[in-house]
Symmetry: C2
DNA sequence: TATTGACTCTCCAGTCGCTGGAGGCCATAT
DNA sequence: ATATGGCCTCCAGCGACTGGAGAGTCAATA
């Protein structure tokens, strides 16, 4: 009969941990004095606590360990648990490696430019939404604004409700070329039964659902548009160095733009570019 | 002015999380209605929450993020934080890879032998301890017991106090050879000022401190000693396949052995073998 | 036999980054 | 007037412990 401290020294498991394992019934002392509540362990319990430590090292939760040890379940299920753990650990390694690549990229950025002008790229899922859209080849910035205004007016005139979400542009180009692009202008609206709306000389807008982007590299651009090009090149380098592949069509979300009639330095544009793990 | 829900949709950060960040003063709304307690955010706050998300992706804690963003500390320190994180993430990747190797080894074990006879190997630090020791070439099992008994008697006779820890043997051999080994028999005692003790015909025992082992692969063996050899070979394979290198001198700790006068099938021996990451 | 001093007990709080729920107020549309 | 849905605060819980307070227990020594 060993007191908890002796058993702790023998097994190298902290006293507090042994008490905790007793509390959750993962590992109970072989005897408890009914008057003093002292816990008493035996040498025969060493292999079990040893097993627990070994399984914990594998990254199993105490719950999983309890299942493995307490009930004697079929070997098939034991194999299954280990294989599941294997996959989970592999996934974690991938995540940590992506993290490391990002940190290293950021460190290089800091060394080069001294912390100024670092761009925060976040990968997130973009939810699908309903929008009134118009796709055409747009020649110049002015023309985009014209399209936007036309749609806006149509919404005000018709029975379509604006979503309060920011308008966006979807670019169907392989490369960012500044002006002259195949562009779909989208204005988020409530789902509605009107399939098309004529915009007069600007064309005909369609109500459709814009699909989700499962993983998009997104970042915010503050200010006027000419400097956007540079940011796009930065994103490309980022993607390559962090082991991502840039996907097909990217989007600009105009959180604050010309339609808000503020100074261009106040513009706030979100770039969303689909990515995959390369 | 955006209500929390709108800002949440825009930033893809859950409402609850925004409230939590407000509570811990990592990210406060730009305005709070004094009568309704409604939080109001602005578009200009988007870049900041975006930065927070990006830094969180790096694996920084919210505390670290707050430091980075709140105070404008020198770039030198910022670099330092990132480099520290880099090292931490590298360390975690190494750990996870070791874990993966262990899981894969265990899976192969299960496939081969069907979960029976799996050995739980735990890596832990072995604390240093004071002991009365005697090193010599030991020829046979019987002789070992004789040495052990001699030391035990000397302790009882002298003013030396036994530690209650289990006696151990340190083996100064490159390979496990069963009998005939260069062995140091150690009996843990309280630190004492008697440097040597004569044991009569068995020799002279010395009181010295047995050094710690920083990382030892340990496992428990239950039963008599002939089957130990097999376990040792198993450990060698385990080390190779898990990316460890076995170090110099290993130890046997006799938690329950011949001196307890129980059936040999009840013997409990702990093997401790120094390891390094290969 | 009394007194140390080392152990042990239970109970409570805190860690981190949220998440879920209860119960109640607020804003907008019908 | 009412029905949604959004917002508020407060509390509990997750996992695997860790630290501390305050009280009781054990074993060895004077």
């Amino acid at each position: 009969m060993l007191k908890i401290g002796e058993f702790s020294r023998l097994s190298q498991v902290p006293v507090k941990t042994l008490r905790y394992y007793d509390e959750i019934d993962l590992f109970n002392p072989s005897d408890i004095d009914r008057f003093t509540d002292y816990r008493y362990y035996t040498l025969d319990q060493l292999p079990r606590i040893h097993s627990i430590m070994a399984l914990k090292e594998f990254g199993l939760s105490l719950e999983e360990i309890a299942q493995l040890l307490h009930e004697d379940l079929p070997p098939e299920q034991i194999r299954g648990m280990f294989r599941l753990k294997q996959v989970q650990v592999q996934e974690r390694i991938r995540e940590e490696q992506a993290r490391l690549a990002q940190i290293e990229f950021r460190l290089r950025q800091i060394e080069l430019k001294g912390m100024m002008e670092t761009v925060d790229i976040v990968i997130k899922r973009i939810e699908p939404f309903h929008a009134l859209t118009l796709r055409r080849i747009v020649l110049a910035r002015k023309e985009r604004e014209f399209v936007g205004q036309s749609i806006h007016r149509a919404i005000l005139a018709g029975h379509i409700k604006w979503n309060k979400a920011s308008p966006a542009e979807i670019l169907y180009e392989e490369e960012f070329r500044g002006d002259y692009s195949d562009t779909e202008y989208t204005m988020p609206v409530e789902p509605n039964h009107t399939p098309t709306v004529s915009l007069g000389e600007a064309g005909t807008a369609t109500l459709r659902e814009i699909p989700a982007i499962e993983a998009a590299a997104t970042y915010l651009h503050r200010g006027d548009y000419p400097s956007l090009n540079e940011k796009y090149l930065f994103l490309q380098r980022w993607a390559v160095e962090n082991g991502y592949k840039l996907g097909g069509t990217w989007r600009f979300v105009y959180h604050r733009g010309p339609m808000h009639h503020v100074d261009p330095s106040e513009y706030l544009t979100e770039l969303q570019h689909p990515v995959e793990r390369a």
